[in-house]
Amino acid sequence: MSLKLNKYLLMKNNLKLILNTMIPGDDYMPCFTKAVKVEAIIKKLKKNKFLNDLKKKQINLNEKENWDNCVKILGSDILEVYFTSNSVIKSLNLRKKNYLRNVKKENMIKLLEKVKYTKKIFRK
């Protein structure tokens, strides 16, 4: 394996780790790299020094300065890409269905009939 490829894979793995720490997923929602290919973020950050740093070593995310830097650089990009990905849209819909499974909606017309409009005089 060439050195260049090696570095690329290291950077990719390091980035994956960061992204999945930032958006780790839960019972319904996938973690970042399950929803979005990491290449999409690499493409967005193409000439950013940040990617070069990741080729050298893993970033310690427990250090506040490192974490804040990751949030600053990746924050808005990953939100957009993540929440517009098909798998996340599907997950949000599934979550919605499950949460609303036992919630009943009353018929709108029946609700309207319950208001005593006769007491009101609306100016025509």
Binding site: K96, K105, E106, L112, K116, K124
Partner: protein
């Protein structure tokens, strides 16, 4: 300077310009529309709720001062608590509108007579009714017939679902015995967009007008209206996309550039004969700006209500506090609108502002405590005309063609402040009945100046107004203003439906009296 010629010239292709362009398009005349913005691919503005979250902070930002596109002009709102929202493109602000389509109330046309506040219109709801009906048919307005707040409105498309949040709120309205009704929404369904799309002026009117021969020239900004010595408008000077100046001769000019853009063009067309601005013998041009100050009240719930789904603009509304009641301490009133809560991206940004969310372990826990769990209500206040609320040219800030921008001077009246405060208290009362765990409220909200009214009011003479009841400029008989700048009062509801109905009425008047204006 290059010269061109047309019979009828329409300046602006937004809600009103588009409606008139279509209405006049069957005449055997050359009709040209000049639009300072570009023609945008439909795919870009047919946003679904997912990409709307992103585009609303970028190219489709409602604030021209943030967008700063070449097609925009600077609007200085340092002296206003409310900033101006608009969009400059073929289709105008309808490209970013939410599609909430109520009509004005009959009482909105007679506020002076009924409540001794504001100004009366020179026609009433019933004069406008047939144009409301025509416009509803063209646009495709969904809603429910029978609202006791309005005269009967027929031929509506089926009402949109009010959703879980609407259901919860409707029950609270019922407990209080307050008026509510499912909203009027302009939403058309298509195979591609099963949930419905907002029909913009492009789809509703302009495409049809173009088929009938109307010429639309995008990226062409009108700088000045030129006059003959006999007080007849001879045409306009416009700047094309290469900043080349062209004189376009026209027999009739229809001005529809909004209550900010219209006075801007008229002020910029001042001359020795009209030193205070074209058509401004009355001194009323630019004055009486009305903006519908908005209060925001948001109920937070422990449960997920899918409140981020449903009608883009308004799912249901209440006109309980629309008419004057002495004991409230203010005249006229406001409506309460149920809005859609923000999607995940906007929710994140909102929470971040208050340091209530971070990336990492608790990202989703924090997000889902808010996302879909809040019900936002808007209180839209009727604004009353005030000569101290005005727009003027801002010579310090110019657009990409070198034309001066606009400076807005606007203050909330005591009446509006009382109204806003009353609205916020009533909404808090309403949320108590819903079981909301807490309520956040504030107002006026700054970025809500999207209903722009006044600034070239209609009236009976050139001593007190800019135009007559048909939008015809008192000073210039072949110049018509067809947008909301001519409205003498603002009502408390979204203006789009009335803007288009008035535009259709004025263009009908022009059609019937064509020989008076066209030099054959």
């Amino acid at each position: 300077m290059k010269r061109e010629k047309t019979d009828i010239l329409i300046i602006g292709t937004g809600a009103s310009g588009a409606a008139s362009a279509w209405n006049l398009s069957k005449l055997n005349l050359k009709i040209t529309c000049l639009e300072q913005g570009p023609l945008i691919d439909k795919k870009k503005y047919s946003f679904n709720s997912v990409n709307r979250e992103i585009t609303k902070f970028k190219d489709f930002n409602i604030d021209p001062n943030q967008r700063k596109l070449d097609s925009d002009y600077p609007i200085n709102t340092v002296n206003s608590p409310i900033s101006i929202a608009n969009y400059n493109a073929v289709g105008g602000s309808t490209l970013i509108s939410s599609g909430h389509y109520p009509r004005f109330h009959p009482s909105d046309f007679n506020t002076k007579k009924i409540d001794n506040i504001g100004s009366n219109w020179l026609f009433n709801y019933y004069d406008l009714e047939k144009y409301y009906n025509l416009n509803d048919k063209m646009v495709g307005v969904s809603g429910l017939t029978g609202d006791p707040a309005y005269p009967k409105i027929n031929n509506l498309l089926p009402p949109l679902d009010i959703g879980y949040s609407g259901n919860l709120l409707a029950k609270a309205f019922n407990k209080l015995g307050w008026h509510w009704w499912p909203s009027y929404s302009a939403v058309k369904k298509s195979k591609k967009f099963k949930k419905g799309i907002r029909p913009t002026a492009v789809e509703v009117y302009l495409n049809k007008a173009v088929k009938n021969g109307v010429i639309i020239k995008p990226n062409c900004r009108v700088l000045k209206i030129k006059m003959s010595p006999k007080n007849i408008a001879t045409g306009v000077i416009y700047s094309d996309k290469n900043n080349k100046k062209i004189f376009l001769e026209a027999s009739i000019i229809l001005l529809s550039a909004s209550a900010i853009g219209t006075p801007r063009i008229l002020f910029n067309s001042s001359s020795k004969k009209f030193p205070k601005g074209l058509g401004n013998s009355s001194g009323q041009l630019g004055k009486n700006l009305m903006l519908h100050p908005l209060g925001f009240v948001e109920g937070h719930f422990d449960k997920f209500l899918a409140a981020n789904e449903g009608a883009e603009g308004c799912a249901l509304y209440s006109h309980e506090f629309y008419k004057t009641k002495k004991k409230r301490g203010f005249k006229r009133g406001y409506i309460i609108q149920l809005l859609k809560s923000p999607g995940p991206i906007e929710s994140f940004h909102y929470l971040k502002k208050f340091n209530k969310i971070k990336f990492g372990k608790y990202f989703f826990k924090d997000l889902f405590n808010y996302y879909g769990c809040t019900i936002p209500l808007a209180i839209i206040c009727e604004d009353v005309p005030d000569k101290n609320n005005y727009v003027k040219l801002d010579h310090k800030n110019k657009d990409s063609s070198g034309m001066p921008g606009v400076k807005v001077n606007y203050k909330l009246s005591k009446n509006t402040k009382k109204m806003l405060s009353h609205g916020i208290n009533q909404c808090k009362k309403l949320f108590k009945k819903t079981g909301a765990k807490n309520v956040v409220a504030f107002g006026p909200v700054r970025k809500t100046g999207w209903h722009l009214v006044g600034t070239a009011k209609m009236g009976t003479s050139k001593k007190n107004s800019v135009v007559n009841k048909f939008g015809q400029c008192h000073d210039v008989k072949n110049l018509f203003i067809i947008d909301s700048s001519i409205f003498p009062s603002s009502s408390g509801v979204n203006i789009a439906s009335t803007v288009q109905a008035v535009s259709l009425m004025i263009s009908d008047h022009i059609k019937k009296n064509l020989t008076k204006f066209i030099n054959k």
